[in-house]
Amino acid sequence: MIFFIAPFGIVVYYSLIDNPIQHNFVFLKNFIDLFHNSSFRMAAKNTATFSLMAVPLAVILALLLAMILEARIPLKSQFRTFFLSPLMVPIASIVLVWQVFFNYNGSVNEFLSLFGADKIDWLKSNYAQIVILLLYLWKTIGYNMILFMAALANIPKDLEEVAYLEGASPWFRFVHITMHFISPTVLFVTILSLINSFKVFREVYLLTREYPYENLYLLQHFMNNTFKSLDYQKLSAAAVLMAIVMVFIIAILFIIEDKVGKDVEG
C-alpha cells in the first residue's frame, strides 16, 4: 500500500489536475492533451516498435542458443561465459564501444568503405533502431539463455525418451514437451525482456542525449524531458498510460501462459 499504491495514487492525482500550484481538477484533459501531442505519439510508436522487434528476438535467440548449448557441443562452458560477459560490462563502456563502432567516422563505416560504401551516420539515420536493437540483444541474450538452460535442464528426460522411442518428430517433441515444460520460463523471460526493452533508454540517452533522431525517441525520453521542463501533469499522465498498457500486456502474457503450461505448475 505505502510503497506502491500511495506513490502511484499521487501520480494519478497529478495526472488529473492542471498544475502543482492551483491544483484544479481537470479530469481527463491531460490525457487528451497527451494523445494530441505528436512527440508523445512518436515516442509511444517507437517504444512499441522497438519492443515488438526486440522482445521476440531476445526470447527466440536466447532459447535457440540455450538449446544449442544443451546439445552437448564442445567448449560449452566457454560459450556460456562468452554470452554472459556483456552482463559484466559497465554501461559507460558499452556506450563507448558502440560509439566507436557506429560513429560517423567509426569502425563500421571504415570497414564498409573498404567495399566502396558511403558513410552512414548510424545513430542519426533510419538504421538507428537496428543499432540499438543489436546492443539490446548483445546485452540481454546471455542472461535469457542461462534462464532457458536452467529450464531445459529441468525437463524430465524420461518423457523425451518415451516420445523419442514412440517415434515423435523433433518438432513435435519441441512443441509438446519442451515448450510445454519451459512455458513459465518463457513468460518470465518475455516479461524480463519487455522490461529490459524499456530500460534500453539508458543506453540510447547516453549515446544520443535528450533529443535523438526521431526513431530513437522513446517514451522514457518524453517523460525524462517533461520532468526537466517542469511538466508534471504531462509526465504523470504518460506514466499512468504506460502503467495501464504494461498491466494489459502482462495480463495477456499470464493468460497465455496459464493456458499453455497449466498442468506444468499444477
Binding site: 498544475n19 502543482p20 500550484i21 492551483q22 501531442n37 533529443y211 526521431e214 521542463s229
Partner: protein
Amino acid sequence: MRKIKFKKFTSVVLALCLSTALLAGCGGGKDKNDGGSGELSEFVYVPEFVTIDADIQDAQNIHMIGDRIYFTQYKQISGPKIDKATAYDNQTEDMMEKNQIFAADGSVINAEDVKNGTTLCSVKTDGSDYKETKNYKPVEIKDSTPEREVSSGNIDQYVIDEDGNFTVCEDVYVSIFDLPDGFDESQGNKYDYYVDDETHIFVRKLDKTGKEMSSVDLYETLKSENDGDSHIYISDMAIDKDGNVCVNAGDKGVFLFTKDGEYKDKISTDSWVDTIFADKDGNVLVSTSGEEGIALQKVDVEKAELTDKTSIPDNLYSLMAGSGEYEYLSNDGSSLFGFNSGDEQATEILNWLNADVDSNQIEDVKFLNDGRILALLNNNNEIMFDAGMNGGGVAMEDSSDEPALSLVYLTKTPRSEVKQKTTLKLACMNLGSSLRREIMNFNKKSETTRIEVEDYSKYSTQEDWDAGLTKLNTEIISGNIPDIISLSQMSCDQYVAKGILEDLYPYIDKDEELSREDFIPSLLKAQEIDGKLYQAASDCSISTMVASEDIVGKEMGWTMPEMLEILKKYPDVKYPFGYYMTRDTIMQFVFAMQLSDYVDWTTGECDFENDNFKGLLEFAKTFPKEYPDQEDGEYHDDSEMIMNGEQLFQITQISDAWQAQQCKSIYHDTYVYKGIPCSDKSGNIAMFNSPIAISTSCKDKDAAWQLVREVLTKDYQQKNSWSLATRQDILHKMVKDVLEEAKNEGISKMGVGNTEIEMKPLEQKDIDKYTDAIDSVTKSFQYDEEINNIVSEEAEAFFNGQKNLDDVASMIQSRVSLYVNEQK
C-alpha cells in the same frame, strides 16, 4: 504466535520508516537551514551600524587589527591648500586650457603644483584617534631624465607586525623614450618615442611613524627570476608569527622577506596564487587554483616551499583568515561562508543582503569573542580620482553623504525574537546590484514585510553550471514556490506556461503612481504573453544590425535572402561583419535572435527545411570557426573597418542615444538600424535586463508588488543611465539632454581604432531614427539553449563537410520538432 507478532511489528516499523522517506520528498519543512524557497532559516543576523566619525574621504587597503583600522588614503600631500568641492567651480575656458584651478583661498593656481600621494593612516574602531604616519614618504627613483620618466611611488599592499611596524609594497613605473637629438617636449609628443617601461617593486620596512628602516628594489631580482620580465602585480601580502613577510605576485609566485625586510627567497608555483593570509595560529597560507581545483597550502618560509596541500571546495574563491568556530572564511559577494580543514563543503554563515549589508562594501570580517560578527564597510568604492600624471591634479570627492568607513555588528538572533514581519522569499540566479540596493532599502523602510533572498547560483558547480537553476525548478515543481523571482537566466515563458507567474497589469492599473502609459509601448508589448505582463523590467538593450543606407537602403528590416543578395554585390569585402566574427557568433545573432522565424510555439510546427534556414547555414559556413590569428597584433576595430570600407555591417546593441552620435559620425549621416535579418523584417530585438516577477502562490502579493513596482518607477530607472529605460519619461529626458548637450558642445573628437574622427552633434533626425528603432521592436529575445545546442551540434556536420545541407536541415527539423512538440 509471538514470532508472528514480532514479524508484524517489524514490518509495520519498516513500512513507517520508508513512508517517512517518501514524505521527505514532499518538502514544506519550515525550520531547515539549507535554504529552499518556502523555507526560512531558524536564525537571523540583526545588524547594528556604527559610523566612524572621522574626516576620511578615501580609504583603500583597509585592515582591522585589534581595535584599530588601518588604511591608505590618496590625498593632497603638497602645494597650496585645495578645497576639492570648489577647486573646479566656475573654472573659465582659459583656466582649463592652462590647467589652472582655484585654491581654497580663492586664488588661481596651477593644478600641477598640487601633488597628491598615498598616506598611511589609522583610526580607532570608534572613530577616535585618527593618525597619519607623519614620517612616511613615497619611495622615489631619482634618475628621472627626459628619456626616463619616473612615476611617484604608490602603495600596493602592506602588513603590520605586532610592534606596529609596516612592511609596504610600493610600485614605481619608469617609462623609457628614445628621443631624437634636440627633441623639444613643448613642440612634440614624447609618447610617440616610447620604447619600453620598467616596473620597480619596492618592499620597505617602516616604523610606526612611517620612517624607513629598510628598502629593497625587486627590479633586478624580478628580471633574473622571470626571464627578464620585471612586470608583476602584487595582489596581497601576509605576515607570519615570526614577522616574516610573504608577498603574493599571482602567477609569478610568492616572494619571501625576513622580519628585517631583507629579501630571502621566492617560491614558484604551477598555478595562480589567489590569496595569501595568516591563519589564527600565525601560519601563512596560500590558496591556489589550477586544473585540479582550489588548494590550500602552508608557506614554509625557512625552506621556501609550500607544504601540507589540501583541497577546498570550488566556490571558496576569496579566502580570509578564520575566526570563531571556523578556520577560514570566504565571502563570495552574496554570502559569508565558514570552512574548516577536512570539511567537504563550506557552511553558509549568513547572506549579507538578508542581514541588510551591502556585500560590495565589505572590506574585512571578524568573529568577536561574544559571538557577534564584525564587518568593516568601505563606502569609497565609487570614489573617482582624477590624479593626473605624476600625482598632479585634485582628488575628486564622492558626492555621497555617507561616511567613508563604517562598521556593522551582526548578532545571531532566533527569528522568533526579532520583530515579526511577513517574510517574502526572492529567488534569483545572481542578483544585480541595483535590485540588491532596492531590496535593502525596502527592508529598511517596510514595517510589515521583509524580503529574503535565496541566490541559487551558489548551488552551481564547475561541472554543472545549471545545478542552481535545476534546484530551483525542482523546488518549484514540488510546490516550494518563491514569492518573487528574479528571472535573469530563467525562462519566463516556461514559468508562465506552468501558471507560476502573476499578471502584473492589474497591479499597474491599480497603482496610484504608475500606469501603462508610462512605458514605451513597443517595449511593453514585446514583454507581453497573450496580452498579459508577467515581468517587470527596468531597462533593456536592443539588438540590431547597423549599416550604411547606401549599402542596405533607408528602410528598417530585411530578410536573409535580401542580406545575402547585398553581400553578393560586395565580393571584395573580406570581413563584411568584422574581423572577429565567427560561425558561432553569427549563428548566435542571426539564428538565436530570430527563433520565431523557424519555430511556432503555439502549433508546435518547425520549419528548418526552408531556403531561409539553409541559406543561413550556408552563410554561416563562410565564416571561420575561430577568427584569424592577428599577425600584426593590432585590434581590428569594427568602426574603423567600416570607415575604411573593409566591413559592411555592424552587429550592435542600442542603448542610450549617445550611440547614435557614433553611428552618425562613422557612417557620415547615412546609417540605418537595419535589424537582424528575419522573415517578417522586424529584426530589432529587445533584451530585458534582470526582470522580476511575482509568483501566483506569493503569500502577500500586494507587499511583493511594493518591491516589484520600484523597478518601474522613475527614480529607479533614471539611475541606470547606461541602458535603455522602459519608461517613456526617462527616454524623453535622455533624448532632450542629448540634443541640448549636442547643441552646446558642437563638434568634438573621438578615437576610433587608430583614427581620430569628428563626432558630429546629433540632430532631431538622428533622434527620430533612434526612437523609430525602439518603436519598431515587436519581440523580446528568448534564448532557448536546447534548440541552440541541437542546431550547433547538427550544423557542425555540415560545416565540417561530413553531411550535405539537406540532411543537416532535415535532422535539425526532426530533433527540434520533437523538443518543440514536447513543450506544447
